[in-house]
Amino acid sequence: MADGETPLLDELEKGPWPSYVKEIKRMASKNAASKDLLGIQELSYKDKVTHWKHGGIVGVTGYGAGVIGRYTDMPDKFPNAAAFHTLRINQPAGWFYNTKSLRTICDIWEKYGSGMTNFHGSTGDIILLGTTTENLQPCFDALTDAGFDLGGSGSALRTISGCVGKARCEWSSIDTLDIIYNLTMEFQDEIHRPRWPYKFKIKTSGCPNDCSAAIARADFTIIGTWKDGLRIDQEKVREYVDKGMDINGLIVNKCPTYALEWDGKSRELKFYEDDCVRCMHCINKMPKAIRPGVDTGATILIGGKAPIIKGAYLSWVLIPFMKMEPPYDEVKDLLRKIWDWWDENGRTRERLAELIERVGLKTFLKEIGLKPVPQMVYKPRANPYVFLK
């Protein structure tokens, strides 16, 4: 194989979908680090083993998070990518940019790094891929001068993110963007200075549709909801029916708690508020006729995570309803109590959900001063037998 040829990576350029190989090749024509990155990737595929390794802690002054050190184990062969560190930049809430700020980021990154970016990482940060140890500090200085800051990494509070909320969505029961911004500013120390057993993620969605998948991706999930009943416009309901909607088949029978009933004689959609679990199904199907209630707040859930020590967890309810109004003191106090308990009791790399499972929900609730409520049930009991002690 001639130098610079990448027959295995070339396979990833085939097909109708976008290819990261194509993008790296574009950068390789003007950046030596990107060219070496291609070589490392090709060799990794050939050898069936990664040629990246951990090589010590790198960072910028005053910060313990936000920089992820990357080194190749073949620096002699790939000297331009011997160090290829990643910077995580805290994204604006809702990912709203103007073109000027995007150009600013790209100009800084072309000056100090490989020029390659990832908009965005799975937590939401702007990911700047590949720079040297010497360039970390000047790059960080240029970014902060332009008004940007690093995000979280390691055993820190990760960059807080969520759905676009009220900025573009009429279903949002909470102002997700304000919550994200407020909590980010409050917990700067927790984002930049890793001090816990492992990572901690906060995500928020404006309604139970949970477009940001917060329930599966965050240790602490804030999902907008409402306390009163649905707002139903009966006239609009009848319009849907007159246009041929199968209201029983698509709405009433699909309601998971049978909180709706269609009276064909009076042509009225009856609603049993006590039975509603606010799943959004009827609202999604009849958005012109049914709207969320007006007494809004959030359900707080706890414990979502991907597998590392134990398997993946979905979050479960911790507080069924909490008002979410600035300055969000109630949620901040709760977070601090949870962190203190986890920090004192968690083992290294043990996520909050794993600690709760190890010591029991009862202990957790007692330690943070919450009383159990039925909504906290993690999952229905599957064992039909009763064991008496």
Partner: protein, 65 residues
């Protein structure tokens, strides 16, 4: 939450004189003060340039030399 006092900051400094490095929670425990107040005091001391952070897997603080 109560405000950070000069007296509290001095207690943090006095404790740090007795160790090579410490975590925030250890400082709070040893000087018998509220953890969140100590966090704020440490942040202020950091801004004043009197302490520095060490990142060795976890975050530690020490007196600036």
């Amino acid at each position: 939450m109560a405000e950070v006092t000069e007296e509290l900051k001095q207690k943090v400094i006095d404790y740090l004189k007795t160790v090579t490095k410490a975590k925030n929670k250890e400082v709070a425990r040893e000087i018998g003060e509220d953890k969140h107040l100590v966090d704020k005091a440490i942040a202020e001391l950091g801004k004043e340039g009197k302490i520095e952070y060490l990142y060795l897997g976890a975050s530690f603080i020490k007196l600036k030399e």
